[in-house]
Amino acid sequence: MRVGILRFPGSNCDDDTLHVLTRVLKEEAAFVWHKESALPKGTDAVVVPGGFSYGDYLRSGAIAAHSPIMDAVRTFAAQGKPVLGICNGFQILCESGLLPGALARNVSLKFECRHVNVRVEGKPTPFTAAIPTGQVLRLPIAHGDGRYVCEDAEALGRRGQVVFRYCDAGGGITDGVNPNGSQMNIAGVCNEAGNVMALMPHPERASEAVLGEDGGLQVFESLRMHVRRSS
């Protein structure tokens, strides 16, 4: 599997993602600078990593969404190839129109930096196909603009496009465990086809037991399984 990890000025989870893909999963991955107009030949999947692209100027992800490389990502996504957004990557994919909705300021007005539980649901995506529906993952979040807002979140849920929701340790969805005020506790969504998916929590920071949690690795293992099956 060959993964392209986009790199914008201000990306800061790019190295973590590379580490998980190359050292933990032993797959091929390479950075792709935002000024490039094409993805490397043979790219099987794209990750838009977390961070603070362009210092979150104007709106989180707004400027990165218009980078030259994003046209190539749009074409790649239109071919049904897998695109994963993490945190700022989620904001960038929403701003670029590849995913529905938007991410607004946390209701708490605080930068929320802690571990949360998220429940996997919705349609199978290349990033969740190997995770049983209803499984709870414990993943870290670190964001100020993570409140998911969408015109019709319930319709999104009915279409299976809600892929991760903030929950308690037993998988229960309550207001009390919603870290940012997201509609329906939404932590991650996918496009209608399911090949573009993004989430606010950081699976790449919870992919090794030595870091305390390794449930996030299942996201990348799912991707590997998907790529192997489709090649």
Binding site: R59, A62, I63, P100, A102, A104, R105, V107, V149, G181
Partner: protein, 80 residues
Amino acid sequence: MTAKVFVTLKKGVLDPQGKAVERSLAKLGFPEAGDVRVGRFIEMAVNASSKEDARKKVDAMCKKLLANTVIEDYRFELSE
């Protein structure tokens, strides 16, 4: 020509910054302030052949970048 662009969260979208400012104003002795919305103000020079041309250009800028129309409304003023 100069354009002044105002971007705010749509009416139905909760504005926690506005709420915090409203509470702070009330504490400072301004209970009359209500429905506070915090937005963004962008001023720019626009090179355009006419006011109508500038209007079209700034409107396109708002739709494409300055506002996220999923959650934000925008309006703008043009002056010579």
